[in-house]
Symmetry: C2
Subunit: 223 residues, 2 copies
């Protein structure tokens, strides 16, 4: 049985316990029929000699998404990527320096749109096939990758996840190609359109895309 004094601890107070918050991002790419993940080696901080996910601390005025964007841009140069939250890791000793809790995100990108360059304190950066991930990842990143991968596969089954991979207006073939890239399989045009129209999330802009044979209609997301 807890005392009233202890119960006060459950209220947020000016002096209540605090800890650092970080976001880690599992960026997946699809190349040559293989799902890949983006890892970095860093020149400063903990686990400098280990591959790990891009990640970093949230500042006081940032949302989680702001933080994920900032971190990913700083470490990789990737911009305007769509993230989805996966889960939160808060084991007591998961960070050697202090108590840190980490919210993980995943993102999907086309690697060919994002040439890798070394930036800031990144020592190495590379795509790894999912079945060829290095052994000694920093922190608990092996676990985070595994959870993110499972989450991605589960979500792709019944949701339309296109991230920021398409322009505002796009053709149905562009969406289909994106799907094919992510899923790693060829889809039937007529069935794909049937499915996507049933979802009722796209609207025909009435415009045609120029410079493409056949003169395909341009679509956008419904608001």
């Amino acid at each position: 049985m807890l005392e009233q004094g202890n119960l006060q601890n459950f209220q947020v107070r000016a002096d209540s316990f605090e800890c650092s918050v970080t976001t880690d991002i599992a960026v997946f790419g699809y190349v040559d029929g293989k799902l890949q993940i983006l890892l970095t080696k860093r020149s400063v901080g903990n686990f400098t000699n280990h591959w790990m996910l891009p990640g970093g601390v949230m500042e006081i005025e940032e949302t989680l998404e702001d933080c994920a964007n900032k971190v990913l841009f700083a470490l990789t140069g990737f911009k305007d990527i769509h993230f989805e939250q996966v889960r939160t890791y808060a084991e007591v000793n998961r960070h050697p320096l202090k108590r840190v809790i980490t919210i993980s995100f995943y993102a999907l990108v086309k690697p060919e749109n994002h040439p890798l360059r070394l930036r800031g304190n990144v020592e190495e950066i590379a795509w790894f096939d999912m079945d060829g991930i290095p052994k000694n990842l920093g922190f608990d990143h092996a676990q985070i990758i595994q959870d993110s991968h499972l989450f991605l596969k589960t979500n792709l089954k019944d949701r339309l996840i296109v991230g920021e991979l398409l322009p505002k207006k796009f053709t149905l073939s562009e969406v289909q190609k994106l799907y094919e890239n992510i899923l790693g399989l060829k889809l039937d045009k007529r069935n794909f359109r049937k499915r996507i129209f049933q979802m009722d999330i796209l609207e025909n802009t009435g415009e045609k895309k120029e410079g493409v044979k056949g003169g395909p209609m341009l679509y956008s997301y419904k608001n």
Copy 2:
């Protein structure tokens, strides 16, 4: 383009920004064929005159699950409940006092096993039907409840989630009734069994449950 100086900010340092961490728990029960949720009114802290989810701050030596257990026990007396993490809320101004991020969990309980009593600084505590939730909930708890409910329903579709609601050995009818209660609809016996056997997660113990007409077989989870 970010400078090296800024990049240092992405590393966890002794002085890096910190904020308070709390857990909120959406405890679902089912009674009289209705899914319900447990809410409290508290006598101290913010939003004292509003119904809200049980929740409270994480301490430095606690995991998220420890915290959820502690909070739920202190506010309701519930013990040894199975939780699952739902998502993390970190909008900048979601708490009036300071920056707070909240990890939400959900749990399923049998209300008849947990009589409600007022404890600690809880002023009122009650079960609410999901279609009769009060309007002015504290903080962003209306959103958290909505997300948790969706999560619960989604998970139930393709996973067997029974929390601590069933004994180690149980009959198929007991599982079915539980499902019917959570989903709020009546299921067909033969179709339900077809589905659950396809999942291949239960095994027949070979024993029959006594005291029940028809002599139903007892099943357990496969290990």
